[in-house]
Symmetry: C2
Subunit: 444 residues, 2 copies
């Protein structure tokens, strides 16, 4: 009890002072509005779940990064949620028979990973999740990708700033098969591809051999991971590049054509190095990246047609993605799409700033006037200082960018208030009883 | 890995399906908009903090209810935040010299308490926090209470539904002094008052004796805790009821007069049974209750002038309150101020619902049209089914309460789309190229 109180937030977590919170709400607003415009409804789940929810399907990458705990005296193991998809799958499985279909949900929850904090990666972060469940065809991918793209457009980013990188596990699996990979080792092959940049070439070769790939097949595998093609590529082109059959490439070509139809083609590239670390993807996989390849992925997702079933629900096709707030925040700042720290222009602008010159009548009137304007839906700030230096108090009004200033000064004796329209730069005297109506009459 | 995945959220936590989430956002919207209209800026902090942040000042009531944990291999002890005030005090203390004053902040974070779940109390809940730091006078209390009241008004509650119950630790301390309580045992006396309903009379008497109160003083103490007076009471009336001097009662009387001035008088009662469990309050304390006294407190707060200093900041006066989402949600539901579970009228209404009769041209046009309408800011849903039974598909449009339905049917051969204004009940044919402009021209 005698140690001083901590001054800093825990490592890898953030304090959101008003300017940082305004940036967060600005990003969340674009996420939320694009979701709603695309017909997704908002959901949320618990911040912590039973630990078992994550040991079932998420894969080792996430298990090692869990913050887990028990209640003192309790017997259940819990973990702070590292991602949203297990919660989503649980919620769908629990009510699959009664939910209207297709299920179109989005969420903007907080997530936690006990990893080493670095640029673009924190221990606590906010992640937008968009999921469409119950649609087999590629229109599902088109809808979730369009939701991501429209949100980024509304944040001021264009297809020269960010690129959607697409691959397809089915197509890559066919290519791996053609190279000699064993069917039962495909999951290991994807995990190997995903982690290829994190190991020495010798380790990569040894693991490829364990999967059934000889030296030349391993060279081909590394080449596949470097293959990038236009979204307009034909099935023959894709098949030629990957070494699979054109029929194998067909599902990806159909998706590409739909994306082009929906006006998303110029945002997208094929990139067969995109794998996604999570084990549960079954078809398309995609990531959004900064155009030059700088920074970590801005978003990632894909199709996971077996996951709902594995959580005890019915068999249901599903597509979804997650976009964290950290990398997109860095990108928006770097591109000048956000106000700087000092510039609070994302904070809401007051409609009215009230100044009292300090007389007893003014002090009595100020809270009354503020209350009636707030009941009328106006954003009202006022000074807490009492000084006759009204000019100094007015500078507060200008600083917070109020639209109007009202000065409760000497004119109160005649029942009048001085009104400054700070936008128009005009000033006039108005009767106390007309103030609310007059302010409401000025368009915002 | 072989056990089935959990189907339920952890005990005391909630899944928010779209109808529950719509209710949560409805409540949060009233909280946020009232905060902004009163000139508060939004902040947030980490979901977990260093455990030491809570062992410093919160009092035993909260310490026993913490969810605490360590990172595997880490050395720091953390706890999920049980309340927001310690985070707020830490954030203020860390930047007190550079923050513009007064500091007016609100937050809507998630909180966690490892207690037994019961009606109105969960292990995870959302709590609105409003704090005003740097103002000594009672205008600070008026502003935070007005923020609470305006939010409740906007949720449809009136002063016959809920009451603000006010007390003042300074005034009650004077009364305790007059009864013989020792100055250095005042904190114990407040803790005793706060927990009086949770102990046997014999235990109450024994503890009162330890504080320095004899039998008759203990009877008087119990009477003080049952004292309720009008907000318009004079200093003499309050002094007479509590057994302190009128001078002691003056700070409360000044607060009451300010509240009446600001039009809040008819929402408020004096209730000297209000103590608040947290140790850090130094002056006014208040709770919001359902008018008949049913349910737990809807909100609680007060003045905490020493807290910022105790977290290593400068000495700064402060007033704030917290309002959880659980009790107010129960109350709104009980009073019929929320749609029922089946009625989704809080969910956003689509502007347009697109239906395709299934021709190749319609299937090609649907994603294009959806994309251009969404870029124009419209909320667009569409069917994922392909059937010629357009009537059945239109029922989906009606079910989600879309404003307009567009049918991509046989008229497409002539470049026309059937447009149903579902509000006005009219139907007409419009050229494909004019659709977006025509929909935008109809006022929402």
């Amino acid at each position: 009890m005698s140690a001083p109180a901590p001054r800093q937030p825990p490592k890898g977590t953030r304090d959101f002072y008003p300017p940082e919170m305004a940036v967060r709400r600005h990003i969340e607003k674009a996420w939320r509005e694009s979701s709603i415009d695309h017909g997704f409804d908002e959901i949320d789940g618990p911040t912590f779940e039973h630990l078992a929810l994550y040991t079932v399907k998420s894969g080792d990458g996430i298990i090692n990064e869990l913050f887990s705990f028990r209640r003192a005296g309790g017997e259940d193991d819990y973990a702070l949620r590292p991602e949203f998809t297990p919660t989503l799958a649980r919620m769908v499985a629990a009510r699959a028979s009664s939910l209207p279909q297709p299920i179109k949900w989005f969420a903007i929850p907080t997530h936690f990973r006990a990893e080493r904090p670095q640029r673009g990666r924190l221990r606590e972060f906010i992640q937008w999740n968009v999921d469409l469940i119950g649609v087999e065809g590629p229109q599902a991918e088109v809808d979730v990708l369009s939701t991501a793209v429209v949100a980024m457009e509304r944040l001021g980013l264009s297809h020269s700033d960010v690129r959607v990188k697409l691959s397809h596990r089915g197509v890559v699996a066919a290519a791996l098969h053609a190279l000699g990979a064993q069917t039962e080792r495909l999951a290991d092959a994807f995990a190997l591809l995903d982690r290829r940049d994190k190991m020495e070439p010798s380790e990569f070769d040894a693991r490829a051999l364990a999967i059934g790939l000889g030296a030349s097949a391993t060279t081909r595998l590394a080449m596949i991971a470097r293959t990038q093609l236009s979204i307009e590529s034909s099935a023959d082109t894709i098949a030629g590049a990957l070494g699979c059959s054109p029929t194998d490439a067909q599902p990806l070509v159909e998706l590409n054509q739909r994306l082009i139809s929906a006006g998303l083609g110029h945002w997208c590239d094929l990139d067969f190095g995109i794998v996604r670390g999570l084990a549960y993807y079954t078809g398309s996989v995609f990531e959004v990246h900064e155009a030059s390849g700088a920074e970590r992925a801005i978003a990632g997702g894909g199709r996971y047609d077996k996951l709902i079933e594995s959580f005890g629900g019915p068999s249901m096709p599903a597509v979804g993605f997650g976009m964290g707030d950290v990398v997109i925040g860095l990108l928006l700042r770097d591109r000048g799409k956000l106000p700087s720290d000092d510039d609070l222009t994302l904070l809401p602008r007051p409609d009215v700033f009230l100044v009292s010159a300090g007389s007893p009548e003014a002090e009595q009137l100020l809270p009354q006037l503020a209350a009636s304007m707030r009941r009328a839906g106006l954003h009202v700030r006022h000074t807490y200082k009492t000084t006759r230096n009204v000019g100094k108090l007015l500078s507060e009004a200008v600083k917070c960018r109020a639209r109007h200033a009202l000065i409760l000064g000497g004119e109160l004796e005649q029942g009048m208030i001085a009104w400054k329209d700070l936008g128009a730069g005009t000033q006039s005297l108005i009767p106390v009883g007309e103030v609310v109506a007059r302010i409401l009459a000025v368009p915002r």
